[in-house]
């Protein structure tokens, strides 16, 4: 028989279990298989009731994030061979409530994304007839890195501050706010500052830096948050020196 590798997968059925347990599966070991392939093998051949999310299989949709041997990973971009000879522990993303098996509840994340107003805010929209808002490549470059986020939530699963304080806005949401703040077409920075310059916003962050390390899209949310703090501090001292300039 061909070589196999052991997967230890978290199982949880809210109607039957008090707490999640782990179940082992032997799956074929193939060099070109990612962890998600192994899960699909289980679902197709061993246990059809295993529940998990996935869609694109190419690191773009951001739905297949799980803990693989304790690290937040996109399972469609994580090769089994990295963990050979196994076993490979597959768990739902850490710090999120678990709905079933490997599926986590992400309403909180969605609400947080929305709370930072991640869209272009204009004081006044110019009429359509005046054409589009133009932007130079340099201007695009200032925020491009932060716009690569695929909302996979790996950074939340890496962030102990989010684990300790579920109210914390968290890495991706703040990076996304910064992405719009830095956009030359946007005028909503002040509005967002009001939302994020709270304890549960940027000030909860202690620059652990893990979010940046696990991000599959090199967004550097930790950097975004520190840049945000620096701006907030600068604004604070500016308005101290020039109180009449405050709006």
């Amino acid at each position: 028989m061909a070589e196999t590798i052991k997967l230890e997968v978290t199982r949880y059925a809210p109607e039957r279990h008090q707490a999640p347990t782990s179940q082992s599966f032997e799956v074929p070991y193939r060099k070109d298989w990612v962890v998600l392939d192994a899960l699909n093998y289980i679902k197709d051949n061993l246990d059809g009731s295993l529940s998990y999310r996935w869609s694109c299989r190419m690191g773009i949709c951001g739905s297949c994030g799980m803990m693989v041997n304790g690290e937040p990973k996109l399972t469609c971009a994580t090769f089994l061979s990295k963990y050979a000879p196994g076993p490979v522990r597959v768990e739902p993303l850490r710090y999120f409530p678990v709905v079933r098996d490997l599926i986590i509840e992400m309403t909180d994340f969605m609400a947080k994304l929305r709370s930072v107003k991640p869209w272009i805010i204009r004081e006044e929209e110019k009429p359509l007839s005046e054409g589009e808002y133009l932007q130079t490549p340099e201007q695009l470059d200032t925020y491009k890195q932060f716009s690569m986020c695929i909302n996979c939530m790996l950074c939340y699963a890496a962030c102990p501050v989010y684990g300790l304080d579920p109210l914390f806005s968290g890495p991706a949401a703040i990076a996304l706010a910064q992405r719009y703040n830095l956009d030359s077409r946007d005028q909503g920075a002040e509005e967002r500052m009001g939302i994020l310059s709270q304890h549960a916003g940027i000030w909860g962050c202690t620059f652990v830096g893990e979010c940046t390390r696990v991000c599959p899209k090199h967004v550097d949310p930790a950097g975004a948050i520190q840049q945000y703090k620096l701006t907030a501090a600068k604004e604070w001292f500016k308005s101290l020196l020039m109180p009449w300039g405050a709006k």
Partner: protein
């Protein structure tokens, strides 16, 4: 997309957004949420390193206390200062100083390495690479340290 998803799940986004209970608590009374262990930072080297980095602030405070005691001794006269110097040769203080020195070095290195992530410098529309900023930090550190040491040793 975000908006639609949030609406579909019927979640309430309060104006201001961040205060009150987390919005997911309203749903799924049966979902499972694990409590974070108090010792979360012990199990993983990277988290431990983070906590050690943060704890480097304690040796910083220790150094300030030491310096203030030294200044006090300086203004109290030669006898008091000689006493201060004698304490410093005591093994307890030597050990404390050595440990603190290592922690402070750790602070310096981590601080300089992380600073370029918070401070974005752009030249001609391009972001100056991080290693250049960190490098100039280290250079400034060396020059300033040398200057301070020279001033003290020369006197």
């Amino acid at each position: 997309m975000v908006q639609i998803a949030a609406d579909a799940l019927g979640c309430q986004v309060k104006p201001g957004g961040l205060s009150g209970t987390p919005s997911h608590t309203a749903y799924h009374p049966r979902w499972y949420r694990e409590r974070v262990s108090t010792y979360w930072w012990l199990w993983k080297w990277r988290y431990l390193k983070f906590v050690l980095r943060e704890l480097s602030s304690v040796p910083v405070a220790y150094f300030v206390t030491l310096t203030l005691v030294q200044v006090h001794a300086l203004s109290d006269g030669p006898q008091a200062y000689a006493d201060f110097q004698r304490w410093m040769t005591h093994p307890v203080f030597l050990t404390l100083n050595a440990i603190s020195f290592l922690f402070v070095l750790f602070h310096t290195v981590t601080w300089f390495n992380l600073a370029p992530r918070a401070i974005v410098v752009r030249l001609r529309g391009k972001r100056v690479p991080e290693f250049l900023i960190a490098g100039s930090n280290y250079a400034a550190w060396l020059v300033i340290s040398a200057a301070v040491a020279w001033l003290i040793l020369r006197s």
